[in-house]
């Protein structure tokens, strides 16, 4: 079996608020024979705050990391975080123009050539590893688990820069979840914004946007939501009670990283998946899934007699 090997950019939240995304990503990649090589001495991409200040500064913060990848001779760097991804890709895209690249490099010690490509972990799982391989590696199918896939606003937008999946109705995560045996509910707000980084300064705004997403998932009968973005996960999980207060409806919706669900289905040790890091525990949903699996098996046996 041929494995894959990529440079890996964890992103700052992977060291803190999204540590379970980072650890589950690493574990799932290992299980699927994807080698990850951390970008040496990587630094913050600047996230949104940098691009709100200046586009050359923002690109320089990304380019320092792209130059590090270049120095290792690798051509592709992958990251779990859509915000990091956007910054890395936008920097690469804009640096195709020599004039812009020169301005970026004027801020850097080590110039960046701009020939490294950034992709999401989600993208390489679907395109390089492939759904067949994922399906074939499932040890514990997520049978009976109803999952609402939520991609967030910038995983696929704008399409000219992201160049992956559909920008209005992305399907990559749906397909992975289906390959794991889960029941994927058709979530209409896949690419709606959750309030992004305004949680701290304007939590009223986030509470309103997040409750819309939570209401929709509840209305569709989802057992849990799956996400690919640390900011979305934090807004929907950590701030779920604030959303409840805003809407007057008490939510109890687990919001997991899709890699945690993959790890579960692939039989990865739970210690690496960090379910205990989630504020809204998924335990009840998993227990219900296990119970229905047993019930189904019994009824199958019953019907055979």
């Amino acid at each position: 079996m041929r494995g894959h090997s990529f440079a890996y950019y964890p992103g700052c939240s992977g060291l803190g608020t999204s540590m379970e995304y980072d650890s589950s990503t690493r574990a799932v990649c290992k299980a699927l024979f994807v080698e990850l090589h951390d970008v040496p001495d990587w630094s913050c991409c600047g996230s949104s705050p940098a691009h709100t200040v200046d586009h050359v500064l923002s690109a320089a913060l990304s380019a320092r990391n792209l130059a590090k990848v270049e120095s290792t001779g690798r051509e592709t760097v992958i990251t779990p975080c859509p915000s990091c991804l956007t910054n890395l890709r936008t920097a690469g895209h804009r640096m195709e123009k020599p004039e812009f690249r020169a301005r970026v490099n004027s801020l850097l010690d080590t110039p960046c050539k701009g020939d490294v490509q950034a992709k999401s972990v989600l993208q390489i799982l679907v395109e390089d590893v492939g759904l067949e391989m994922i399906a074939a590696s499932v040890q514990k199918p997520l049978k009976g688990l109803k999952v609402a896939p939520y991609y967030g606003c910038i995983m696929n937008r704008p399409p000219e820069i992201m160049q992956f999946d559909d920008h209005e109705n992305p399907m990559a995560m749906d397909r992975i979840l289906a390959a794991l045996g889960a029941e994927v509910v058709p979530f209409p707000l896949k690419v709606e914004c959750c309030g992004a980084s305004y949680g701290v300064a304007r939590k009223d705004v986030v509470a309103r946007l997040s409750s819309k997403l939570l209401d929709t998932a509840v209305g569709l009968g989802a057992d849990m939501m799956a996400t690919a973005c640390p900011l979305c996960q934090m807004n929907l999980d950590l701030r779920q009670e604030q959303a409840s207060q805003h809407s007057g409806r008490a939510y109890s919706m687990p919001v997991l990283y899709f890699t945690q669900l993959m790890g579960m289905a692939l039989g990865v040790a739970e210690a690496e998946l960090g379910f205990d890091k989630l504020c809204v525990s998924p335990d009840r949903a998993f227990e219900a899934m296990a119970a229905s699996t047993i019930a189904n098996k019994q009824s199958e046996r019953g019907s055979r007699v």
Binding site: D54, H55, R157, S197
Partner: protein
């Protein structure tokens, strides 16, 4: 009452965003898909109109610029392929340089974030929050989250500095020396 047409302003926005403002025909698609319209003082399509009309002061002092999340919905759905989100970004760069920031807490949060990056190379979340609270003089409005997040062991209490701290400092320093507004 509107101010007179400021041609320089229009030219600056066009040059910095590399977008042709004249292409906007006010269909309103951007506003229809903008998740923040409810919080904006001026909806995004009207900002486009104000820029076309060269209304510099009114544009650069609006709150919306500080609430746009760069969700890219407008850019993705504009029938004329205008990169509206990039224009919003360019406008807040200009607002910042001219000293306007009507959503002060948002600016303080972003500034504290970048200072954390400059100092440690990576964002130090707990330090960033402490700085934000100190600067805004607010009590931490998220105190209800503390009992949820602290036991999870997710908020690192120490920064994770990188080796290339000197390089990071130089990125910001050169940016300032070249006339950039932090």
């Amino acid at each position: 009452m509107s101010a007179s047409f400021d041609a320089d302003f229009v030219a600056q926005v066009q040059a910095a965003s590399e977008q042709n403002l004249a292409l906007c025909y006010q269909c309103g698609n951007c506003t229809a898909g903008c998740p923040y319209t409810f919080a904006y003082d001026i909806p995004v399509n009207q900002i486009m109109r104000l820029v076309q009309a060269g209304q510099k002061h009114k544009t650069l002092t609006c709150k919306s610029l500080w609430l746009c999340a760069t969700c890219e919905s407008c850019t993705t759905r504009c029938p004329n392929d205008i990169d509206v989100a990039r224009i919003m970004d360019v406008l807040r760069h200009m607002a910042r340089c001219e000293g306007h920031a009507p959503e002060r807490a948002v600016k303080v949060f972003w500034d504290s974030f970048l200072e954390s990056v400059r100092k440690h190379g990576r964002v130090f979340e707990a330090g960033l929050l402490a700085k934000y609270v100190a600067r805004t003089g607010r009590v931490w409005t998220d105190f209800d989250l503390a009992p949820r997040i602290i036991p999870k062991g997710k908020l690192a209490l120490k920064p994770h500095p990188i080796q290339g701290l000197g390089e990071m400092e130089k990125i910001f320093k050169r940016f300032e020396e070249q006339g950039g507004c932090l």
